[in-house]
Symmetry: C2
Subunit: 633 residues, 2 copies
């Protein structure tokens, strides 16, 4: 990996270069030869008697050595042509950037503005704009072709194997197909079961799809808080998060420089960016929830639509009449957006303006194809509060709002908890599917216990794997810093890897046709002592190699038929291979399908003698290995 040192030190330095033994490849869909759909090919060692493995690649141009990265200029804006060629949009002079957009930051503390300015696009009345509208009209967009190709992970149609995988899994009623076609994508979007978050102004985007009949996705939250962090750190975190597999990134920045931070992130992000607009709206009224107004909020929506944000978390389900339901909770309201709106509702004794103006919100978002992520402002914040009436009352309202947004032509997903013990997780998934007409579910964890601050990536990774299996479409990561502080770069990586594990475990359990290919490739590498392949096929080759190197650092150990865990004499894989090799030399079917039977006694006696003969020679000398390590260290 190369850390790019930027000559201008005020600009973000980001990590570029391919992952170990990987190269970027691009698939070209038959139906759209101008598209280049990225994949990462993991290159196996010469000892491998199998092809290289293509895997899903969220990392964007940063891992393509042929692309020159200039954070100052942003990524290529390829997708603008797709939007323009289908028409129905206009370029216009966007809203001016005002001092309050950046929290009235003083000149001394203002972050450097992003250099380039792009005029925004918006939809014209009477024209189709959103992916949902195109899908319903039977039109397959380039975005749909792109994600179809991407979801197949570079494999060709192999119906028999794919169907066997599906039959072996348990998907709880999902309809994962053996192979993803653009038409399948279109159909799922038309039914509201999947979304492609893709603001027409986010031209740097490599489209991806969220829905339970596709690969399970993960989101990484970044963003500064009022207490710590900077623009540079946040852009770096975004690039770092997608390097390890984040499918979308939410910029949850608060405090000053909020507009500028988001601009830098968007112009450099190949993945969808989500935000919670109420955070910025609150900055515009100096942090006083009571002073929030619909006009301030609307202004913020338009500002962020023009920038290119792909999905908005909107807590429109926090209704005045539900707030008292949280009164007896152990941890009250734990959603930032939820608590802000609760305070507003109570202070004014009015229904939430997000609820009363929901129609208008839809009309704005539709013009830019910004997807809804209907926020769960009343999600539980502790095991004690899971699945209570407040939570489910809000979920029912989110179902009602889903249908309104769909009628308006908007794409929708639904946010979910939070903190839920294992036995109450499936109830959440089932109720969400029922109330929200199978709109994609997007949950935060859930944490399955509250007793491990510092390890909430794990308490929640358990719940995330389970709810992903049950049908959740996207899992919002939780880092080790959850409840304790703002995650740094290392926390972001740990959170992303943990959630890639959860998402992949879910895909495996659902029987996703391509999921087990990677497990099997890695298992074969492990069994055949191709250590380097084992590292490189894993989610984090750097960490795997460094752990191995701690005890067996020499290059020769990368082909050794053992590791330091058991040592050479006790390596079960080695012994098993000895057994197999030996059985093969006998070339006698009876040695494989062996039973205790007199008829093959002669063969067995011969086998027995040969084994004795092999004796000690099949093992390496452990003490010698130890000495050689000592000499080296």
């Amino acid at each position: 990996m190369n850390i790019r040192s930027n000559p201008d030190t005020t600009l973000p330095a980001v990590t570029t270069g391919p992952l170990p033994s990987s190269r970027k490849i691009y698939a070209v869909p038959d139906s759209a030869p101008d598209l280049r759909v990225p994949l990462r090919e993991i290159i196996l060692s010469e000892a491998a008697s199998e092809p290289n493995l293509p895997v899903y690649d969220t990392s964007g141009p940063y891992t393509d050595p042929s692309v020159t990265i200039d954070v100052n200029a942003g990524l290529p804006r390829n997708r603008i042509a797709w939007v323009l060629e289908r028409g129905g949009v206009e370029e216009y002079v966007g809203r001016d950037i005002k001092p309050e957009d950046n929290g009235n930051v003083g000149a001394d503390k203002a972050a450097k503005a992003f250099t380039a300015h792009h005029k925004p696009l918006r939809g014209l009345d009477g024209h189709k704009i959103t992916q949902l509208e195109f899908a319903r009209a039977g039109i397959v967009t380039k975005e749909m072709i792109y994600v179809a190709e991407r979801e197949n992970l570079g494999r060709k149609v192999q119906l028999e194997r794919a169907e066997a995988a599906l039959a072996d899994g348990e998907s709880f009623g999902a309809s994962v197909p053996a192979f993803i076609t653009p038409e399948f994508v279109r159909d799922e979007i038309a039914r509201g079961r999947a979304i492609i978050p893709c603001n027409i102004n986010h031209a740097e985007l490599e489209p991806m799809i969220i829905g339970r009949n596709f690969l399970t996705k993960i989101n990484a939250n970044i963003g500064n808080s009022a207490v710590t962090s900077s623009v540079e750190e946040e852009v770096d975190k975004m690039v770092w998060a997608i390097r390890w597999g984040a499918d979308t990134v939410m910029d949850l920045s608060t405090g000053r420089n909020i507009h500028t931070t988001r601009e830098w992130i968007l112009r450099n992000s190949p993945v969808p960016i989500g935000t919670v607009p109420i955070y910025q709206a609150l900055e515009k009224c100096n942090g006083d929830p009571v002073a929030l107004t619909w006009e301030l909020y609307k202004d913020t929506l338009i500002e962020q639509c023009e920038q290119g944000v792909d999905y908005f978390t909107i807590h429109a389900g926090v209704r005045l009449q539900y707030i008292h339901l949280t009164a007896s909770r152990v941890t009250g309201i734990v959603s930032r957006g939820g608590s802000i709106m609760a305070k507003w509702c109570l202070a004014h004794h009015k229904e939430s303006f997000l609820y009363t103006h929901f129609d208008e919100i839809c009309d704005i978002m539709r013009k830019y194809d910004v997807s809804f992520s209907l926020g769960d402002g009343l999600r539980p914040g502790s095991i004690a509060d899971a699945n209570d009436r407040a939570q489910f009352a809000e979920l029912e309202t989110l179902g009602e709002l889903t249908k309104i947004a769909w009628d308006k032509g908007c794409q929708v997903m639904i946010e979910g908890p939070g903190h839920v013990p294992m036995h109450k997780i499936k109830i959440n998934m089932d109720k969400q599917l029922k109330e929200c007409g199978e709109a994609p579910f997007y949950t935060l964890g859930p944490l399955t216990t509250d007793i491990a601050p510092g390890y909430d990536h794990i308490t929640s990774g358990i719940g995330a794997a389970m709810i992903g299996w049950f049908g959740c479409a996207m899992l919002c990561y939780v880092t080790p810093k959850e409840h304790l502080g703002l995650p740094d770069r290392n926390d972001v990586k740990t959170g992303v890897i943990t959630y890639k594990i959860a998402a992949h475990a879910a895909d495996l359990a659902k029987g996703h046709p391509a999921a087990q290919l990677r497990d099997d490739a890695l298992s074969r590498a492990r069994f055949e002592f191709r250590w380097t392949d084992q590292f490189n096929l894993g989610l984090d080759p750097d960490t795997a190699k460094s752990f191995h190197d701690e005890t067996l650092p020499k290059e020769a150990h990368k082909v050794a038929h053992f590791c330091s865990m058991c040592g050479p004499k006790f390596c079960s894989m080695k012994i098993t291979q000895d057994v197999r090799d030996y059985a093969a030399t006998l070339n006698d079917p009876a040695t494989v399908g062996m039973t205790i039977s007199g008829t093959i006694e002669d063969g067995m006696a011969q086998m027995s003698a040969k084994f004795k003969e092999m004796g000690g020679s099949v093992y390496l000398d452990a003490e010698k290995v130890k000495e050689s390590n000592k000499a080296l260290s």
Copy 2:
């Protein structure tokens, strides 16, 4: 925490002293006032309006400042009196220690022998020796009284609350009672549904129970391999593992000094120690599985029975006729013991001597009350091999052997996988319960995917939580080093904490009457911004505090009503508390059970005005906090 520096540097240095804000307390059972059952009391801050929280304590005398720890002398041998007073045992001159017991280690590499020598005890013919025999005879032993007290976590009988918790959980047919009595313990042991691993020669033991109607337990594997590690490191790892919550420890040492390492561990261990005797037997024939004999193995069993090992993993289910079933596996046989026995069976073309001599093995183990941990030598080593015929054929044989061992009066648990995707986990649990007559299940993970070497504590923590919920009685930890190298001290801690999370999440989901008390206490601390209480109530107070200190290091921040994650303006818990406090001042029931209704409009208008008045004053100034941090760092 204090790191004990031993004046004699050739002896192990171990970690002593209480955990942060904790003190050791001892409960005295009504029915045995001479027993002192350890608990750890977490002392809450003065701001807490609730009592201190007692939690299960595996750490032994090491965390009791009133006990002087001398690793050279070993722990007090309190339990010897319990064994002697019930009679039926004899002291005798044990087997001599031979050079091959320590792998014929040369004088230059020999570890220092443990100083004290204790003559072993063994059962006399015609007398009851094992907990199973006593239980069946209706006799409640001190061990049973001890574990009953321990399992209740210091709580009194509160039937109503306990029954509500049980009713709220889903235990899949377990029979967890509202309160544990010694008679319940006796009955569960008599039925074979639980075991107390307690060799009569492990007099340092603080007894514990393993069974699905008790708290879910975890095991930590330690032990040197031929390539790395030393006696000192292993004793330190044992003490370190139990400090963080390991309920039992397996010494999986191989290589030289194997007898001496085990002696040091046993004499200093308050938790049950398990081993895999075939590892040492193999050392006695220079690592050649083909040269293994029943006599060598039997000699090893007696050696370890006399030392005080509490449970033996015995791979007696790896039968000759099953070995060919592994031929087409992706990863063959991955159990060390399983592969050793497979090689022996094939080389000799004979049934495994562990199977043919099973009766004799029972007779030996019964005399010392060593529990069986029937090994799963044919467990899957990859997702591809999960739940295959080889695995389940062996499990059926383990069921057959369970009944033989029970007939002989031995306590039994059953080992399980390994590598299993989520949707195939419950099948394992259900089949084990059926085949093995509800004998406790003890699984390694299982790992739910193979694609994350370096993170297998997480891939397996997911599976462990699930199988614990489904009924698994003990979860064998997996560390981040799994498949890559021998775990060090940090890996041991990470593995233990991860598995404490899994076990606790399982207990919560089962509805264990006492499990949620800790979650609720921590959640209340979190909501009330008692930061120090939040850290101390967690599984790893040191890590939680250090994460918090990274961004808010000052003592004043330990009472701040926000953290660096969201900052003061966006802290949902703060806002919620503001809302509640405000509602409380109105002293009007309508403000809690508020609805949109004209009748309380006046109250609401008043509320609205007051909220406006509170305005900006309820928030701390984020920028000021940031500055103060900068000044400090």
